[in-house]
């Protein structure tokens, strides 16, 4: 029973992070390998706002999320926009470099030690007993709920909203979309800020649950195979991929070897890449992007 709970929580973590990869890739065909570092930055921003708004947990979290959205938009406006027209590889490598930069900066500003933003906010972490003898912590439960809410609203936004439709149009054919009067730069900036927002939600909740340190960027990187297994341009795929990766990871760690934890996502990834490179639910596109 505890295993099932672990799988659900890990799936929620991976899914919440993976939808950030999917959003950006689907709209602008850029792979954001700095996603892990960006969500780590959001968690550190929470640490900062927690010291500003000591005691007002909601205000601190809202401020951290708002700052993250701004960071995401700025990354697009100041970095990725300059690379329009370059090879897709240049954009990917820029995000890699951004990740390295962010890791360095977070250590310089906040030190490399494990820190707990829940403490200055005065938030406790309860554990609930579930039927069947399993336990789940408050923040993990919130994380699962958030993931469901985020996916539901993203589906609704992309399917029904005016801006969501514009985003889909830009993702399908940027040239035609631009000719129909859609402001591509605004759409891309929106995709980046939405992506960092979902990442920030994940980062903040993980940090509140188990503290934050430099390992958080690794979680972000491990969620990437989940997005790719499901198909990089499919939200439903990200959910499915997260479930597959999370179950494989939990089972193998439990029954085989805990050291495997960092490799499993990538092993699953290789298998999928050789059999079905466009992912389980992704659209089969020309894989000729670089």
């Amino acid at each position: 029973m505890q295993l099932a709970v672990n799988i659900v929580v890990l799936t929620a973590i991976y899914a919440l992070i993976a939808c950030g990869y999917v959003l950006i890739y689907r709209v602008s065909r850029v792979l954001n390998l700095a996603h892990g570092e960006l969500l780590m930055l959001s968690a550190y921003l929470l640490l900062w706002t927690a010291s500003l708004f000591a005691g007002h947990a909601v205000a601190a979290i809202a401020a951290a999320l708002g700052l993250s959205v701004a960071v995401g938009a700025m990354v697009y406006l100041f970095l990725l926009r300059k690379l329009t027209g370059e090879m897709a590889l240049a954009a990917v490598l820029t995000t890699v470099a951004l990740g390295v930069l962010l890791r360095g900066v977070t250590v310089i500003v906040w030190s490399a030690q494990q820190q707990y933003p829940a403490v200055p906010l005065g938030l406790a972490n309860w554990a609930f007993a579930l039927p069947g003898g399993a336990r789940i912590s408050l923040w993990a439960a919130l994380l699962v709920a958030t993931t469901l809410a985020v996916y539901a609203s993203l589906f609704a936004f992309l399917r029904l909203g005016r801006w969501g439709m514009r985003m889909r149009a830009a993702g399908q054919n940027p040239l035609l979309a631009a000719q129909r009067g859609i402001n591509l730069h605004a759409i891309y900036a929106l995709a980046w800020s939405l992506s960092t927002l979902t990442g920030a939600l994940a980062g903040v909740l993980i940090a509140l649950d188990s503290g934050l340190g430099q390992t958080m960027a690794i979680i972000g990187l491990k969620a990437f195979p989940a997005a790719l297994v499901g198909g990089l341009d499919s939200l439903a795929g990200a959910l499915l991929g997260s479930l597959i990766i999370a179950s494989a990871e939990v089972f193998l760690i439990h029954y085989v070897d805990p050291l495997l934890s960092e490799v499993i996502p990538f092993l699953v990834l290789i298998v999928v890449l050789t059999l079905r490179p466009w992912g389980l639910l992704g659209t089969r596109e020309e894989l000729d992007r670089v």
């Binding site: 490598l93 470099a97 390295v100 894989l287 992007r289």
Partner: protein, 359 residues
């Protein structure tokens, strides 16, 4: 190799001349001068400088191998550290388990590298670009896991100590001897790469990079040449890893993080894609960069306060420089050099004549 025309009035009249490595006397003299300077360096330099040079040579081998794969054959790889680790661990394991000598472990490392090259080149036949980069990323984690597993199982949890190699019963421990060995290895790698590139294989890779379908139509075996690029690049990288293991005398997974892969990619970007000289310049730049940052930090006031943050400052500055190159000068250092050349060639004009005129 595609040569750009020169302004000097030197025109090639047959294909043989087009393939010559160093066509003009000035170039031959320059290369000779650099070689003499490199050979004379250990007589003059301090031990610190010699160590630095040795590190640069190791990086040059790895960067050349990556340049061959990414810069010429167009196959992106983010798993370079995994291949270096594979070479280093081959040496470490063969040494610990069988006391194998230098002359056995080095070819073994190359063989392991070539094998990994086949395994990770196979996806390249099916996936391209971004997806390929991701599958090579997996290589990094896989090799690191296997290495860590070996360390943990055999009880070398902090790393494997490797004795220096011995020639004719004498152990090579002298820094100057190492300098010469690594210099020779780097020069040999450079020659190998240059020769591969001016032969049929180089032309095939250029065609594949430009357009796979066209390459296939021209009768180039796309699959086999892609695999060849992977095999050669991986074998060279694994040898660099093996030399690294002997040079440091110590093998541990920690040395081969994802950051190292990123550094190698940075080398070929900062140096300039599609140029062997670029790979060398990039290796030089990336290897010396942390030392420059350290020196810069030391010169600041209150240097001791930053001591603990050295690595972080390094990473931040490194990321910033990489971004600057990607955004402002995608052609890298070699692009800067070419632009400078063009500037002087055209001086006092700013632009090439438009149309018609011989370029």
């Amino acid at each position: 190799m595609s040569r750009r025309p020169r302004a000097s009035g030197y025109f090639r009249t047959d294909y043989g001349e087009d393939l010559t490595l160093l066509p003009t006397r000035l170039e031959r003299l320059a290369v000779l001068g650099v070689l003499v300077a490199l050979l004379a360096l250990p007589l003059l330099a301090s031990p610190f400088l010699i160590d630095l040079a040795a590190q640069v040579f190791l990086a040059v081998i790895g960067a050349l191998a990556l340049m061959l794969l990414t810069g010429y054959a167009g196959q992106v790889s983010l798993g370079h550290a995994g291949l270096l680790a594979a070479g280093a661990f081959t040496v470490g394991i063969l040494f610990k388990e069988f006391k194998a000598p230098f002359l056995v472990t080095l070819p073994a490392a190359a063989a392991v590298g070539a094998l990994l090259g086949v395994v990770f080149g196979l996806p390249s036949l099916r996936v391209r670009g971004l997806y390929l980069a991701v599958s090579t990323l997996a290589l990094n984690f896989l090799v690191a896991y296997l290495g860590g597993e070996y360390e943990a199982r055999r009880g070398f949890s902090t790393g494997i100590v490797v004795d220096p190699p011995s020639f004719a019963g004498k152990a090579v421990t002298d820094a100057k001897a190492w300098y010469l060995i690594l210099l020779a290895a780097a020069v040999a790698t450079l020659l190998l790469c240059a020769n591969l590139l001016r032969a049929r294989s180089g032309r095939a890779w250029a065609a594949i990079r430009a357009n796979e379908t066209v390459a296939q139509t021209l009768g180039i075996g796309v699959a086999s040449y892609k695999l060849l690029a992977f095999v050669i690049s991986s074998a060279l990288t694994a040898v660099a890893g093996a030399l690294f293991a002997y040079y440091r005398g110590f093998v541990s997974v920690e040395a081969f993080s994802l950051f190292l892969s990123i550094q190698y990619v940075a080398m070929i970007i900062i140096g300039g894609m599609g140029s062997l000289a670029g790979a060398i310049l990039g290796a030089l730049f990336v290897t010396l960069f942390p030392y420059a940052i350290e020196a810069g930090l030391g010169a600041l006031v209150g240097a001791t306060a930053y001591a603990g943050l050295r690595f972080a400052v390094n990473a931040a500055a490194f990321g910033a420089v990489m971004i600057l190159f990607l955004v402002l000068e995608p052609q890298g250092l070699i692009g800067l050099w070419r632009r400078l050349q063009t500037y002087f060639l055209l001086w006092p004009f700013r632009h090439r004549p438009v149309g018609g005129a011989r370029r």
